[in-house]
């Protein structure tokens, strides 16, 4: 059992949870994730390890409630436990010294980006962070990211915070200014956003790393359910990834496979109590 020590809501239905998991806290590296199985008979849900404290034996997860299982997880009160957490899984981020890097987070992707951006900054890279969201309440972790970013730029669709528009608009400005053009880009967020960034950097030959979120079960390479196409090869995102070269990823296939269980998910949602259901539908797009 994995005890929940802290549970804060950062944005509408985005929670930061600190959980006791000593073995994982000790072994974890940036870019890795865990699989949470909240209760007997529940689904197995992959979640990025946002942060870890090996001394205290804790890990931090950032979770957006988008369906029945994530909702169950974020509604676990402090003092209660999650039944199973396995990890750390996946390959750690390859932290290199690129020079100037742009780290782009969209929506909850910002949370997944956070440990990576921090590791890049710690390795001596000059990090420009761009975060985006629908409107001001959906912008998360701005203060935390500011502490190590050379510059933090924000884009909201309604202009309620930072620049009005998408993260790609901000990125374009960086690319267009020769002194600011990044040597590498890390983009994490909704699939359409990652695809747009990859298309944007491709003509300039800027190395672009994305983090993929296919449906997973075991996270150990056993089921093959998480397969994605990268270049000509089929890869298992849980063991070969989750980070891949964005210029090689078949985003269309990823999006398509993510929709595989849409009917079941909708049915499960429709059976939830109304108050809970409303909560999710508000943030889901």
């Amino acid at each position: 059992m994995f005890e929940v020590l802290q549970n804060d809501m950062l944005a509408p239905n985005v929670h930061r949870m600190v959980i006791r998991a000593p073995r994982i806290a000790k072994a974890r590296q940036p870019g890795q994730f865990v699989i949470v199985h909240p209760e007997s008979g529940g689904e197995r849900i992959p979640l990025t390890i946002g942060d870890a404290d090996p001394q205290a034996g804790t890990i931090t997860l950032f979770i957006q409630a988008v369906g029945a299982s994530t909702l169950k997880i974020v509604n676990t009160p402090v003092g209660d436990s999650l039944r199973d957490i396995a990890g750390p899984l996946g390959k750690p981020t390859e932290i290199e010294k690129w020079g100037r890097v742009a780290c782009i987070g969209g929506g909850l992707g910002t949370a997944v980006l956070y440990p990576l951006a921090k590791a890049l900054a710690d390795a001596g890279n000059e990090v420009t962070t761009i975060i985006g969201g629908r409107s001001k309440p959906f912008i998360i972790l701005a203060d935390e990211l500011k502490t190590f970013s050379k510059e933090l730029l924000i884009a909201t669709e309604d202009g309620s915070l930072g620049q009005k528009g998408f993260v790609t608009n901000v990125l374009q400005e960086l690319i267009d200014a020769p002194d600011n053009r990044p040597h590498a880009v890390f983009a994490i967020g909704p699939v359409p956003m990652m695809r747009a960034v990859a298309e944007q950097t491709r003509p300039f030959g800027i190395k672009t790393i994305v983090s993929l979120n296919p449906i997973m079960i075991d996270g150990t390479g056993m089921c093959g359910g998480c397969r994605v196409k990268v270049g000509d090869e089929t890869k298992f995102a849980c063991v070969d990834g989750p980070e891949f070269d964005g210029h090689l990823v078949d985003f269309g296939l990823l999006m398509d496979r993510l929709s595989m269980y849409r009917e079941t998910e909708a049915k499960i949602l429709s059976e939830l109590p109304e108050e809970l259901r409303d909560k999710i539908i508000k943030v889901k797009r």
């Binding site: 029945a68 199973d84 056993m222 093959g224 063991v239 398509d256 496979r257």
Partner: protein, 470 residues
């Protein structure tokens, strides 16, 4: 009374038929197909055994169950004694009695089989084992051994890991099992379906180990959560029984379409994650027409599962003929009774999709049998130009699994063969001192009983190693 039975009397008895759920009913539920013998049936079947002096059946069993002895006790109606003898050699008899390929092992060489049908050793084993599970109080109490002060780590809780854990604990060693998934049992839990092996049996076996003092920690992925090196530092010896959990892909077009599963994913969703139950959120595509590719136990389990999930047509597509199928006979017969269709001498060449990325068909190549290959089975060869399309909406790939490199990739000094399996000597010792291995990670996809046999022999070797280490 049985002593008075002459050989002629014994020969006159006909082999018992296993009571089964009606195929028409069972193909829509997940309850066990085989219902088990009654005591009367079991005793009568036991009387068919000729108690041969040469005991060929024992040699046919990989763990050398003392078959004539346990059967003789059963024939006498002495169930505690039958159970005691059985459990001496086989720690998971309720499992083996259900899933062992008896027809190629103990029953294959049974003398009774040369004139008629072999003694139903598997059924009898299951009967005695089930009796033992139901009457633990009638079995001799297990004495807690003197602790040796030695600690052994076991990686994986499949049949190999469970067996060696029990053996070592009985020798007084402190045993901890590390399991990657959130529940124990390995393939017994996530692969073999409820209708063939009720999970309650795995639960009871695991509970027995815990009572022996075995510690079990789930959610530990060795190679990720802890490394083999760390385990070697903390424990006096390590046994690796992490199975062969890596699906072999078909590598044909359309494999990434929605509705295409590896058997591992399909069965894990249904078994480990209980997708068959209405009250569980695990999603699975309920295909109307399902093609399962392969001819082994995994393929039979997947295809029969698809029927139970409501498929109108569930079809096995296999590139050789029924004779070459590696599945147990019983599974093939049961599948047929349940309305599973068999398309033989056919090999998939492409999975066809609709405009929304869902499976809509399976393009197959007709085959014929050619010359025997290395395994002695006749090699299937394509009949040029002879192809056909099966109209299906789910495809399950059950062509096999290989060694999963997750653990071994982080232990560069561990010697592997060219397929990625761990190399061991006959006692399970690997190239690293104090590290032993057995089961599917050494053999490739094999059987439950072979994995258990490996666990048993490695336990002896580890005990010896620990004593020498003193």
């Amino acid at each position: 009374m049985n002593k008075k039975l002459t050989s002629k009397d014994r020969m006159a008895i006909e082999r018992v038929k296993m009571p089964e759920q009606d195929p028409k009913r069972r193909n829509s539920n997940f309850e066990e197909v085989n219902q088990g013998l009654t005591e009367e049936q079991a005793i009568r079947e036991a009387q068919r055994c000729l108690l041969c002096k040469t005991r060929p059946c024992v040699a046919g069993c990989p763990v050398r169950v003392r078959i004539p002895e346990f059967i003789a006790a059963l024939a006498e109606g002495d169930l505690p004694e039958a159970a005691r003898i059985l459990l001496e050699e086989n720690t998971l008899p309720a499992v083996c009695g259900r899933v062992c390929p008896q027809e190629t092992q103990c029953e294959k060489v049974c003398v009774r089989g040369s004139k008629g049908s072999p003694v139903a050793i598997g059924y009898l084993e299951r009967f005695v084992a089930d009796w033992a599970l139901a009457h633990p109080e009638k079995l001799p109490k297990e004495n807690k051994p003197e602790p040796t002060g030695k600690k052994v780590a076991i990686v994986g809780s499949g049949p190999a890991g469970l067996t060696i854990a029990g053996e070592l604990a009985r020798m007084g060693h402190a045993v901890t099992i590390f399991e990657a998934l959130h529940d124990t049992g390995g393939v017994l839990r996530y692969g073999i379906p409820e209708f063939r092996l009720p999970k309650r049996i795995v639960d009871i076996e695991v509970e027995r180990l815990k009572n022996l003092g075995v510690e079990i920690e789930c959610n530990v992925v060795v190679g990720k959560t802890v490394t083999l090196e760390e385990l070697r530092e903390e424990f006096d010896a390590v046994f690796i029984g992490n199975g062969a959990g890596l699906p072999i892909m078909l590598n044909i077009d359309g494999e990434n379409l929605k509705g295409v599963y590896s058997a591992n994913e399909y069965l894990t969703r249904v078994n480990l994650m209980a997708a068959w139950r209405e009250d569980v959120p695990t999603p699975i595509i309920h295909g109307k027409r399902v093609a399962v590719i392969g001819g082994g136990n995994t393929a039979m389990d997947a295809v029969r599962t698809s029927k139970r999930l409501g498929a109108e047509r569930s079809i096995i597509v296999y590139r050789r003929t029924e004779v070459e199928m590696p599945a147990r006979n019983e599974e093939i017969q049961h599948a047929k009774e349940e309305g599973i269709e068999f398309i033989l001498l056919a090999s998939p060449i492409e999975i066809l999709g609709d405009e929304n990325g869902w499976v809509k068909g399976l393009l197959c190549q007709r085959m014929k049998l050619g010359e025997p290959d290395a395994s002695g089975r006749r090699r299937p060869v394509p009949i040029e130009g002879d192809t056909f399309v099966l109209d299906v909406d789910v495809v399950v790939n059950a062509i096999g699994t290989r060694a999963n490199p997750l653990l071994t990739a982080t232990a560069p000094d561990l010697k592997l063969n060219k397929w990625g399996n761990i190399e061991t000597d006959d006692n399970g010792a690997t190239s690293l001192p104090g590290v032993f291995a057995g089961g599917d990670i050494v053999r490739g996809g094999a059987t439950v009983i072979l994995a258990m046999g490996d666990g048993k022999s490695a336990a002896v070797a580890i005990d010896k190693y620990l004593n020498q280490k003193n």
